[in-house]
């Protein structure tokens, strides 16, 4: 194996997943994606609901059979080496699958035993991990009594019991309050520093910008864009965005008058967005043309702008 291939933790070529849902219709969840995740990086899957992120994650977790294409995790084929792959992965699922009736420590202990880790060893690891996710005082508490953030931290601790090389996190901070999210991000950042490869799905743009070195935007089962957060912004948006608010009903007419000011102008029900490299300059020109927005804001482009550009503003259920 060359050095390069040794460092590829996950590789997918034309990866596909389809299944028959309970009503009998065939759903094509993943329609041929190519990805490479390298050792030690934090790799993100971004996309609206139904984009195929979770299906992809389940295939990478070696629990969901691949329908088509090629998938290698740690160089191994999940169809052949599922248990071997899973012994080296940590999985933090979207829905908590903790045992609610067991206490915090037992949840870790029992999970460690599934990996065949000796009893004494798994006890030591469980206590270390409780320390790591700041749950030592909750050691004997029932899981039921934990807050959402604590449960998520416990799930992460559980996913680390086998000291995984790759940690899969499916929507790790969905439903958490800002404090809990920041604690979690901090822990994930530390893991990354320790060399754990992180694979994260999220629909929070700030999370993706905070955590991911590289990401793909998925939409309707395909990869719509790929790159670092900065690259994606550079490629699919402008440096800055001017948000202008005019009286309701004026937006379409106003947009025509300022269409030439930016590289792109987007009219929303409540405001007009002008994409340009110098937002303040756009604002000055708007005023020079005698237009008086009720409110205005100049900001940097974010991943959210890229995301909405690529996947549209229509609601996906």
């Amino acid at each position: 194996m060359s050095d390069h291939s040794a460092d590829v933790m996950i590789s997918a070529r034309d990866l596909r997943k389809s299944f028959v849902d309970r009503s009998g219709t065939t759903v094509e969840a993943v329609k041929g994606i190519d990805i490479d995740v390298r050792r030690g990086e934090a790799f993100g899957f971004l996309g609206p609901n139904g984009a195929g992120k979770s299906s992809t994650m389940r295939m990478i977790a070696a629990v969901s059979p691949v329908t088509g294409g090629e998938l290698r995790i740690l160089g191994l084929d999940p169809a052949e080496h599922g248990p071997a792959i899973r012994s080296r992965l940590g999985v933090c699922p979207q829905e908590d699958t903790l045992d609610n009736e067991l206490n915090v420590f037992d949840n870790l202990y029992i999970y460690g035993r599934y990996f065949g880790i000796p009893k004494r060893e798994v006890r030591e690891r469980a206590d270390e991990l409780l320390e790591f996710v700041q749950l030592t005082e909750k050691r004997a508490a029932k899981v039921e009594s934990l807050s959402g953030g604590m449960k998520r931290r416990l799930t992460i601790a559980r996913s680390l019991i086998n000291r995984p090389e790759i940690l899969l996190l499916d929507e790790p901070t969905t439903g958490l309050d800002p404090q809990a999210r920041h604690v979690l991000w901090d822990r994930l950042f530390r893991l990354k520093q320790q060399g754990v490869t992180l694979v994260i799905t999220t629909h929070y743009m700030d999370e993706a910008e905070q955590l991911c070195d590289r990401l793909v935007v998925m939409d309707r089962g395909v990869v719509a864009a790929e790159g670092s957060p900065l690259d994606l912004i550079r490629e699919h948006s402008t440096r800055e965005v001017s948000e202008l608010r005019f009286p309701v009903g004026d937006h379409d007419a106003t947009a025509e008058k300022i269409a030439d000011l930016g590289q792109r102008v987007e009219v929303l029900p409540d405001r007009i967005l002008v994409y340009s490299d110098d937002g303040e300059h756009v604002l000055e020109q708007v005023h020079e043309r005698g237009l008086r927005p009720i409110a205005s804001l100049v900001r940097r482009s974010t991943l959210e702008d890229v995301f909405l550009r690529l996947t549209g503003r229509t609601l996906v259920d």
């Binding site: 899973r86 009736e101 029992i110 599934y114 990996f115 270390e128 086998n162 000291r163 995984p164």
Partner: protein
């Protein structure tokens, strides 16, 4: 990395303390069936330690109430010759083996209905477990072995409690009968497991309880000899796995063993058990693989 965990349960490597990337226990290939089950022992044991108290009433007390009500109090009115009670000298000694065999079935069905659906639908423990080196096969085996333990302990206590009442003719009969009840229970457990791993709505269990469990319990020879049903119904009753279980258990307890009948009873139960186990594993594998 150290490759271990293939030959023994204690075969993991011991990593240094600290972070999350030290040495790791690695499984290079599928676990053996024994390994798969052994790794779940701690789980089932921990859960059992927590739940055994609440199962005492259904497992140990209600069966004895049946013995008291049906065997002793109702049985006091039953005075017929042993020839009409398949060789039993009293109604109590007739009904006890039947009740224990039926209890094996009930325990089996109880352990493989809600617990299986809960692991798939409510607390989702199967989904947590399947993310480890364990496979669907191991999860099915683990739960079925736990069910076997529950059948064995429930029926074992039943036999022990009944022993002083003179309902058993020999000491070895009830021992073999105890093994028989485990076979009976498992023959039901595997099929119920397969059913539970297939359905999505707990209302479907109504089918098993109303159309399966209750008619079988009442008409498979636990309370009266199936010859009383007469004609076709008698043969219908004799086609049920519970009757084979009840009959074998009773023959052993009463020391009235007919060799060829016993063989048929055993073969029928095994023939029900084996494909059922295969189907249970296959159904769970499919359910978890989507």
């Amino acid at each position: 990395m150290v490759s271990t965990g293939l030959t023994g349960e204690e075969g993991g490597s011991t990593g240094e303390g600290g972070g999350s990337t030290g040495e790791v226990t690695r499984d290079d290939r599928r676990l053996t069936v024994r390994q798969g089950m052994a790794r779940q022992l701690d789980y089932h044991w921990t859960v059992y330690k927590r739940t055994w108290k609440s199962s005492v009433v259904t497992s140990f007390l209600s069966p004895l109430l049946y013995v008291l009500a049906m065997g002793v109090l109702l049985g006091g009115f039953v005075h017929v010759s042993p020839s009409r009670l398949e060789g039993a000298t009293s109604y109590l000694s007739f009904i006890v083996p039947g009740l224990i065999a039926a209890q094996a079935m009930q325990t089996a069905v109880f352990e493989t209905t809600y617990p299986v659906l809960a692991a798939l639908k409510w607390h989702k423990s199967f989904y947590a477990q399947i993310a480890t080196p364990l496979e669907a096969r191991d999860l099915a085996d683990g739960m079925l072995m736990f069910t076997l333990f529950r059948i064995g302990s429930t029926c074992g206590v039943y036999f022990l409690v009944m022993a002083p009442f003179g309902v058993f003719e020999t000491w070895w009969g009830p021992v073999l009968a105890w093994l028989t009840t485990m076979l009976v229970g498992m023959a039901f457990a595997v099929w119920t497991f397969a059913f539970s791993a297939h359905i999505h709505d707990p209302q479907s269990f109504g089918l098993i309880f109303r159309l399966g469990l209750i008619p079988l319990f009442l008409f498979s020879g636990s309370f009266f000899p199936v010859s009383n049903l007469g004609g076709v119904l008698q043969w219908v009753a004799k086609a049920t796995p519970l009757w084979h279980g009840v009959n074998l258990t009773r023959m052993l307890c009463l020391d009235h063993v007919d060799g060829s009948t016993a063989l048929v009873n055993t073969v029928v139960l095994v023939v029900v058990l084996v494909p059922g186990w295969w189907l249970a594993v296959r159904t769970l594998t499919r359910r978890l693989a989507t």
